[in-house]
Amino acid sequence: MEYLYYPGCSLEGAARQYDESLRAVFGALGVGLKELEDWNCCGATMYMSVSETTSLAISARNLALAGQDGGRDLVAPCSACYTVLLKTDRFLRESPELKEKVDQLLAGAGLRYHLNVKVRHPLDVLVNDIGVEAVAGAAASRLEGVAFAPYYGCQIVRPERGFDDPEFPFCMDRLFERLGARAVYFPMKTRCCGGMLMTTFPEVCLELVKDLLDCAVENGANCIVTTCPMCQVNVEAYQKQINKRFGKSFQIPVVFFTQLLGLALGCSEKQLGLDRNLIPLRVPLPAVGG
């Protein structure tokens, strides 16, 4: 099994440990990841606010490149990239008019998108292609003692009904519970963290993140597990500010699901980039006995 891999800009920067741990996990499971040659930014939420057609064309360049490469599934770990690439594909499928325009733009760059690429999230691949049982079979240790708040974030399950429920997804809960961790009650699992509002309207965003942290901590989580680079930064890096602003005392680690999974699969902390997290994950992880 081999997938094409679209890391996205965040995974070269603030979410470097997501990139490292994703490669480590796929490596440990023996599943190939081939980075898409010369990928460009997907446009995120911001390009769309400036020009729709151009934004779609820029994003479609990646799909066109992936299409040339044998039409394998394209794995996009960043929630924004995943949503934008998926949305581009769906828009172009639904509207022949848009498709024609975008093709016209891509033709200038000598490309054409043949609607032949499936955009996938790594969580989807792990749970549905590889399978929870296969992952559990490859596990080197159990995640006893981990009580995690499964934080999916808003964009991987919406807006189009994707691989799990758009409001109350369960696949990540199932995956880690099979590995011995305990998912705490966390009704805010797909609630928005505010994303780029942390830059543009911090007072709004801090409030959203405070609610998330409250919900996780009050329900007894000792870590938050997320799938999204924006969520990870917002929820982890601003805890100090939130403590000061709202008189709280949050100090809860926020890790990518691939980091936690990597621990179960026996990858080293270095491989998983755990030293890059601002709040270290300190959970006793006993080795499994048979």
Partner: protein
């Protein structure tokens, strides 16, 4: 609202132009025409995690659009506060693509310049687009520098401790990565400039009564589903 007393059913010319711009943008959204199905149930507002910080709720945005007051929507904070989490779109019983319509409103506002100067989201988006056009990828550090320098340089000082912390953890890349195919991006941009020249649009007679559903009806009819 600044037009004073209005003749019921008659739109002022400025509003009519804005409406046409918005409808052009909304046409680009597959399923955009479903805006005419709104029941005003308020599910969108109730589901929105940031509606508490908006001056006009998402439900009211559609109500104002119907009432022929787009200018009021464009001047609000609402369209810029949306973080595009798509909860409203997921829950809307009429399957209206509210998030995508808010994008259409953002584009209308940008095209017509109807937003305050140095407005945060506008600034951030513009700089983001500039970086992507130049390098093919975004660089978080450069984006923050460009944004804060223009908006409020003091903010740079305030975010310095966090930036240093992130840098020490190897989570900030100092130089933007330029992709090899940046020429291709340029070509796409040039082609799109040509494509986005003002289209010769069929002139629609400016007439009384073009508010509410009749004005909405200027969009292509919804496919039966």
């Amino acid at each position: 609202m600044k037009n004073g007393n209005r003749i019921p059913g008659l739109l002022p010319p400025s509003e009519w132009q804005l409406r046409r711009k918005f409808l052009e943008q909304a046409e680009l959204v597959p399923g955009g025409e479903r805006i005419s199905r709104c029941l005003q149930c308020g599910t969108c507002t109730g589901s929105c995690p940031v509606s508490y910080a908006m001056d006009i709720s998402p439900r009211k945005v559609i109500a104002l659009f119907r009432a022929g007051q787009i200018e009021e929507i464009l001047r609000s904070r609402t369209i810029w506060i949306c973080a595009s989490c798509y909860m409203c779109t997921t829950r809307c019983p009429q399957h209206i693509k509210i998030t995508d319509l808010l994008y259409a409103l953002k584009r209308t506002a940008m095209d017509t310049g109807l937003y305050p100067d140095r407005f945060p989201v506008y600034l951030l988006s513009r700089n983001f687009v500039r970086l992507v056009n130049r390098y093919g990828r975004n660089n978080e550090l450069l984006l923050m520098l460009l944004y804060h320098l223009r908006r409020n340089p003091l903010e740079l000082l305030r975010s310095l401790p966090l930036a240093v912390q992130m840098y020490k953890k190897g989570r900030i890349s100092l130089w933007p990565t330029q992709i090899k195919g940046v020429g291709a991006i340029r070509k796409i941009l040039e082609a799109s400039k040509a494509l986005e020249l003002p289209r010769e649009k069929e002139e629609i007679e400016y007439a009384a009564g073009m508010v509410g559903y009749r004005a909405v009806g200027q969009l292509p009819p919804a496919p039966a589903d």
